[in-house]
Amino acid sequence: MNGVEDITIIGVGQTAIEREKPADTFADMAYEAVTKALDDAGMSIDDIDNIVTTSNDFWDGRTISSMAVNDAVGAGLGKNITTVEGDGTFSAFYGMCRILSGSYKNSLIVTHVKGSISDNIHITNGIFDPIYMRPIGLDSLNTAALQMRRYMAKYGISEEQCAKVSVKNHANALKNPYAQIKKTFTLEDVMDSRLIADPLKLLDCSPISDGAAAVIISGEESAKKHKNAVKVRGVGYCADAYFLGDRDLADANALDMAASRAYESAEIVDPLSEIDVAEVYDAFSYMELMWYEGLGFCAPGGGGKLIDRGVTEMDGKLPVNPSGGLLSGHPVITGGLIRLIEACLQVRGDAGDHQVKGVKTALAHGVNGACGQSHCVWIVGR
């Protein structure tokens, strides 16, 4: 075992993303994702030697929520199970590191969330420092609006350019059977949608969603010849300052650093030319433009022109979010892992109606924290 070049993703599974899943418990959702991933890999739970579950206690409404699904993820009695609180890309990173430690061969990564069961304003207010920031009433929506305005002001990005992301991703979602919102929206629909917190409008925002996802990561030599084998070529992870005022919200510096690490490992010099498809964390329309910049698809401030030129459309040079992204369904925590699953399916040629032709190298991106505080970038390929 040397490094990421020995890591292979051989199984993926996701539930349909839905506004609410009243018939499912957390365990029901996790079980569905896990059994799909095992079936996909042609494995049984006995082939798994360690499990990383991922959830958030505030969203679940219970403490140590990640340990409460251990029966549904096949941990049984005596299997090594550990937990991450954060986006699924981070738990996949941890699951990969456990294999690289030499102690494990096959990691099962599971994420679940139900956004439908509580009050997102209260929960996301809880992200922030209780002394200085919570009393101001900050939440995920109004802080995103602060970031969007700052980004637009610094780089001359227009609301229309942001809205184009929403139009593109919703159109892509029509072909994704797992997407929650499958509806065509025009630029006018987005621009005329209800103001949430200026300049954010309803259709700039991802919806509230329930969902679970699972992936199986292997360090076995034989996994490289697995029918599903997707090679991990590079992974990078980086976090920015916690206090919003400590960073310039217009710039995705932490993503820049995370991407640089992943690209270095994958020996990618010109990401726009060398990456065939990207699934990025578009929690809000403007974020996708910022992430283009942080991922080096264009220079800082160039995100607006990139979407104007159609580069990231399905028929563009680098399609971004062919699945429809989070704007078409956003189970928090699970969101990034679905990006990784979609990237793997694209590499395998198994993405169905939203398959991009000839994908050799794909990028997946996960975010945790307000205004993109921390980022994890995966480069996967054949």
Partner: protein, 152 residues
């Protein structure tokens, strides 16, 4: 509350979670908040290594991990870096929507302070506008001892 799927009633339970917390503000934060209360002044800390001036004050530098001991007073006015007009009602903010949240770079500071903006029609707020702190008459050592920032 129950929904029906095929022949099976699906039950749901309401949470009763309500957990009290008492957060320590700490030595640095307490001094900052007490200056708001006692003197209507905004104090910051300055990193001895990289010179960054933090509001709210930090004990450890975000950028270089140095211990910070030096205090500097910053002005109670500065430049609005960004803002949003929040259109939805939330019990977390006093008053009715629309209300304005902004990030203010106070004169003398290197980090932005997130706070409420008021005293201006919401369609007249602009990035780059100068704003000044409006203090509460009755202050208690809280970030909302500054009621809001108003344009000057």
């Amino acid at each position: 509350m129950a929904q029906k799927q095929q022949d099976q009633e699906l039950l749901q339970y309401e949470s009763r979670i309500k957990v009290p917390y008492t957060w320590s503000v700490g030595e640095v934060g307490s001094r900052f908040l007490m200056e708001l209360k006692e003197n209507r002044k905004i104090w910051a800390t300055r990193c001895p290594s990289c010179d960054m001036v933090f509001v709210p004050p930090k004990k450890t530098c975000t950028y270089c991990f140095s211990d910070i001991h030096e205090w500097v007073e910053v002005k109670d006015e500065g430049v609005l870096q960004t803002f949003t007009v929040v259109r939805y009602e939330t019990p977390l903010i006093p008053g009715k929507p629309p209300y304005i949240i902004g990030i203010i770079m106070l004169d003398g500071a290197d980090t932005g302070l997130v706070h409420l903006i008021a005293g201006v029609p919401h369609d007249k707020v602009k990035v780059g506008m100068r704003v000044k702190a409006v203090f509460e008459e009755k202050r208690k050592g809280h970030i909302l001892d500054i009621n809001h920032f108003k344009p000057i």
